[in-house]
Symmetry: none
Subunit: 222 residues, 4 copies
Amino acid sequence: MNINSLNEDIIRRDKSALPLDRKERDRRLRRADIMEAAERIFALKGYHKATIQDIAKAAQYATGTVYLYFEDKDELYFSLREEKIRDFLRIAREKIKPVEGAREKLETFVGISLLFFEKNRDFFLIFLSERSKVQAIKDAKLSRSAAMLHYREFVVELIKKGQEQRVVRGDFSPGQIADIFISIFMTAVFDWFKEGEKPSGSLTELSAFILDAFINGAGKRK
Amino acid sequence: MNINSLNEDIIRRDKSALPLDRKERDRRLRRADIMEAAERIFALKGYHKATIQDIAKAAQYATGTVYLYFEDKDELYFSLREEKIRDFLRIAREKIKPVEGAREKLETFVGISLLFFEKNRDFFLIFLSERSKVQAIKDAKLSRSAAMLHYREFVVELIKKGQEQRVVRGDFSPGQIADIFISIFMTAVFDWFKEGEKPSGSLTELSAFILDAFINGAGKRK
Amino acid sequence: MNINSLNEDIIRRDKSALPLDRKERDRRLRRADIMEAAERIFALKGYHKATIQDIAKAAQYATGTVYLYFEDKDELYFSLREEKIRDFLRIAREKIKPVEGAREKLETFVGISLLFFEKNRDFFLIFLSERSKVQAIKDAKLSRSAAMLHYREFVVELIKKGQEQRVVRGDFSPGQIADIFISIFMTAVFDWFKEGEKPSGSLTELSAFILDAFINGAGKRK
Amino acid sequence: MNINSLNEDIIRRDKSALPLDRKERDRRLRRADIMEAAERIFALKGYHKATIQDIAKAAQYATGTVYLYFEDKDELYFSLREEKIRDFLRIAREKIKPVEGAREKLETFVGISLLFFEKNRDFFLIFLSERSKVQAIKDAKLSRSAAMLHYREFVVELIKKGQEQRVVRGDFSPGQIADIFISIFMTAVFDWFKEGEKPSGSLTELSAFILDAFINGAGKRK
DNA sequence: CATGAATGAGTGTTCATTCAT
DNA sequence: GATGAATGAACACTCATTCAT
């Protein structure tokens, strides 16, 4: 499977899947406008320094309008994360299902993820920052997201399949390996973004690097 | 080298290393008191929800006193990170210098780090959360810490040595490998903390797991 | 005169007294719908906590529709009071006019009032709360209502007649006595409502109590 | 007992009864400053239209300062009512205790109340408006005040004594009579305030009027 | 130096009112 | 006329920072 062939599915914004009445459609569009602005602002300033007024202004709406679509600031942030992750997982599932072979599934996953994050850089920053909001554990509303758990669970499943097919070592728990996979992946993407100016690495190269690092480790092969 | 033998150095609080006059000594003690309280509070509530009053109260000083030792809230947070990391690096350098062999150096590094984080759980949470404060990139004061860069640089050096001694593969840049090493390490420690109640894994086992995962990767050896 | 015979007049809703064209009739009906809802909501939540949206929803109209019939929130509240009081006074005048004797007129007035308030408990709460909105004196729009003054004036007339017929003492001004009468009356009704669960007092008994307290005072007769 | 002799006790502000350290004394003074300003503003604008900023400005403090002395707006309002009523009841109890005779006690009560309200006109408006905040029944924090109940209870006791001594009729419950007494009293004071410009009535005359109206009722004596 | 009361700018949220459809 | 989404001013409350004692 070719990375570029995944592209179009990720671009297509998933509003208006079903025929809706104009009202509901408009409502979704506005909601999406606000989420889009929120994504930018949250990524730029972080949760706490981003103000609802910032977001409203960025979305070209009045302050109060935000509250027509989201309960409060928390819910806006939360929904943003959740819906993006859900979108991503939906696409990932679709694309990965037909792929044969655990290793190929992992490759596809990495490819899709890279494309998704490239198209959604702001979201990546939010996603990333979320991963270590440890304090959040104690915070009711911002608590670890359901979709985030689904995301991990999805990777865990891929790893399990890898273990069954003897592509991934079996002496570590799938959860442990999944966590390591995710963290290697995130680290690589983050590095790649930071040095985004370099024309150096294509997504395909990056993809290969991540898988190599993950599968073979950092040790020198004798 | 035995992990347990590293213990005492990490426990010893590094205030008042040199003979100082009473005034300066007292000053440092108070500063340290405040940082200690700040560490607890920041770890517990996170940067934004922790208030200076919380911290002052926890340190049993008045609010204003905090400002005699730290420019502002940011600087307190910043100093906390910096000094802790510096402490850690000093110890790590001392212990690792006499160790022969790149692989053994890495092992020692992992061992020391684990002990240090175990003794400084609160700090670990801060350190971890810091790693992905990506927004910080754009934020003047909270910007990526000098000590954090030293930390990374230190690991980069270890990796370079590993590459020279053909313990670590040479086809990736030392920086990339260092980042991966750090992220695997952090992930493992975080997982271990979360399940801290389990009498399951000793630090030694965890140490072995981390190195194994890093060196050998997740792939099944044929 | 029998209290129960007053009943029907009070029940009958006084919309559409004159033959009107459909448009004007509809307009009045809608206006009445909204006032009815407002009455419920204002009584339930009080002026400030009641929102126009609450009221519109309760009346099953859109928010904006309220503004087609009332200038603003104040005017809605104001009109509510005014029209209800006017309704009441119209009925009261009709019923009291044919009654001979000042004392009997007062009795009739108490009876009618009790029935009216019983049928319009929500309004009673509004009416009552209004009586001491002293701040209102300084507030332009919520200022003491014209109908409220008519209400008082009506009682003043009854008292004057009472003084002429030597039923009511003449050494106090009619206004003073009217105010006292009104406050005794309100207090008694309020108490009666609060303990409304008690099967204790019928309206007739309450009516007798009020008149007794008013006419004879609280002093022990020798 | 002479009304004027009660005067000084009512004027004397009851701060600093006991010797306190400077800190606690200052604290109370500032608290009192704020309550005084709040009294004025609440009386002028009513609870909802009064803003904390208004009050802070009137007290010549910053907004935040108010929150050093009161939990929130509700608590400020609540404390105001409670403490004033408590002050009043304390004075009233002291003065009334030595008085012999139920009728004389009532007279004294009326006299003290008049003086107190005259010295605290703003508070009277608050006290009055409070009496009919019927909605408040449903509102947690603004709910009927404990001190208000004490106030009523105090009057109920006076009435009971009146019934025992055959000064007050025994065929109504003390509670009912107390409520009537209070409402006559409030009405009279309110009327008197409204026409405050008139040099007409002295407090002594007003006092006599209230008692007369209460004891003898409005009926013409044959 | 230490204190902690005071400050006041800043923010999330509400809601009366408007106006395009 | 009816609608109800959009508006944005307003307000309670927080908290980093200052400074008189």
